[in-house]
């Protein structure tokens, strides 16, 4: 039977002959291209129905937008509520991406705090050097992204004091941390300069215990718990987004409270 789609009047055969290579190449290319994209689509939806890539990237885009909104909401002069020392939880609550039995204590005698990035004086610091700097104590609430919270008392060097002392570029965007437990983390400069952001050396008036970051950890009242790296070994001031351990797995980066 004659196809109903066939035109009644066929074009001159010469016209077709003149353009035959072009028509053929178009068809072949189009077929290959559509075949490939169809295959890719099947693989895309087949690999993870619960978390398709398009949805994931849309959620991450909104999460980055939320980071900007959070930075706008952050008031550098707003202090977190503080509590009397009697309310300090002893010992503090342990939390990490591994169990407390897997904590590898850091030897303070050989430990050094390395500096990198936009810092004038990059000489490494010993624990004694840091202890000689002016110390501040705060009793603040630790709030975990999971929902639990506790009141802890921290003593140490305000990060602002330290950054000023080493000649860091305070107009840089990020302050990044490396740790002995391979838990990279980073915060924005405004939060780093907040008066309740400490390089903590003590908890509850005593030297930090091993599971809680001895000899040095970050403790900031203006971020969720996962932005407080323990066993800090290096600080870098940078304008290049440094990310972090949980951030790489999808958690929001700013995590301000």
């Amino acid at each position: 039977m004659r196809s109903p789609f066939r035109p009644d009047m066929l074009p001159d055969a010469r016209v077709l002959d003149d353009h035959r290579p072009l028509i053929r190449s178009l068809e072949r290319r189009g077929l290959i291209r559509s075949g490939l994209s169809l295959g890719a689509l099947v693989m895309l939806t087949g690999c993870d129905v619960r978390r398709p890539e398009a949805v994931e990237s849309a959620l991450l885009a909104i999460s980055r937008l939320n980071d900007d909104v959070q930075a706008l909401l952050f008031d550098p002069n707003k202090l977190a509520p503080t509590y009397p020392a009697s309310m300090i939880l002893r010992p503090p609550k342990f939390n990490a991406y591994y169990d407390v039995t897997d904590v590898k204590p850091v030897i303070a005698a050989t430990w050094r705090l390395e500096l990198a990035g936009l810092i004038a004086d990059k000489r490494a610091w010993t624990l004694a050097d840091l202890q000689a700097l002016p110390q501040t104590s705060i009793v603040i609430k630790h709030i975990c992204v999971e929902g639990w919270s506790y009141i802890g008392g921290w003593t140490g060097v305000p990060l602002r004091v330290f950054l000023e002392r080493v000649g860091a570029d305070l107009r840089a965007k990020y302050v990044a941390f490396k740790t002995a437990d391979n838990y990279p983390s980073s915060i924005d400069m405004a939060s780093a300069l907040h008066p309740q952001t400490l390089l903590a050396l003590q908890y509850g008036g005593e030297t930090l215990a091993d599971p809680f970051g001895y000899p040095l950890r970050l403790r900031t009242a203006v971020k969720l718990g996962y932005k407080n790296p323990k066993w800090v070994t290096a600080i870098e001031v940078t304008n290049k987004y440094p990310g972090g351990y949980w951030e790489a797995l999808g958690f929001p980066w700013f995590a301000g409270i």
């Binding site: 999460s63 939320n66 707003k78 609430k141 992204v145 999971e146 929902g147 919270s149």
Partner: protein
């Protein structure tokens, strides 16, 4: 010359005789946007909840959780919140400015509430005229709107407990705010169960929220249907 007075203007006349729908199109759009966003907020909230439960031993199985682990539940929740807040704000402004809240949800007389409860217990559920809400319906709609507003307030408190520390102490502390946020969810889910059950029992209410429902007389009631 053809003089057209406002009274005889064709457009004006037709809009008066046709009357507005029970659910004008903005209400329907906002309703369905809210339906999707609420489901996202509730199920992603269950995913976040599960890492540190409010009620000891009470978990939501993975089937009920949006996001395959906490990070994605959190990202869903913090994406959904914008749609919930923007849609909700437009809805509140619309409800007050258009007079819909006053017309549909007021007045509520305690005696009417009691009577409706008694009637319902006797399986006398009047639903011939879906354009008029009974006292219990009015009460439930007001409760769920307030619960939605409360969820945003307690949500802001647990999202930014330092920036809004005054709000947190007003709510009785961070953990208390969390419990209130959880309780607000429970109220909304409780409403949803009743709301869905009744919509399925009286399918024309569901259809009305899609197509707009019966046209109203100027007084706000249906042109047809029984009014007891």
């Amino acid at each position: 010359m053809n003089r057209v007075t406002p009274e005889t203007n064709g457009v004006a006349t037709s809009s008066v005789t046709r009357g507005r729908r029970l659910h004008p199109w903005p209400v329907r759009i906002m309703h369905w946007v809210n339906a999707v966003v609420m489901l996202i907020m509730i199920t992603s909230g269950w995913g976040i909840y599960d890492d540190d439960v409010v009620i000891r031993g009470f978990h939501f199985s993975s089937f009920w959780r949006l996001g395959d682990w906490a990070a994605w539940s959190l990202n869903w929740h913090f994406a959904g919140m914008w749609f919930l807040v923007i849609n909700g704000l437009i809805y509140l402004v619309y409800g007050f400015v258009s007079g819909r809240f006053r017309e549909k949800l007021l007045p509520i007389r305690p005696t009417d509430v009691v009577q409706t409860v008694i009637d319902t217990l006797h399986f006398k559920i009047a639903h011939e005229d879906i354009t008029v809400y009974n006292a219990v319906q009015k009460l439930l709609y007001i409760v769920v709107i307030l619960a939605g507003v409360s969820q945003v307030i307690t949500g802001i408190a647990i999202w930014k407990p330092v920036q809004f520390s005054g709000l947190v102490s007003l709510l009785g502390g961070f953990q208390n705010a969390r419990v209130l946020h959880f309780a607000g969810m429970a109220v909304i889910v409780g409403f949803l169960i009743v709301h869905l059950a009744l919509a399925l029992l009286v399918p024309k209410t569901l259809w009305a929220m899609i197509a707009g429902g019966p046209r109203l007389k100027p007084g706000g009631r249906a042109k047809e249907g029984h009014v007891a």
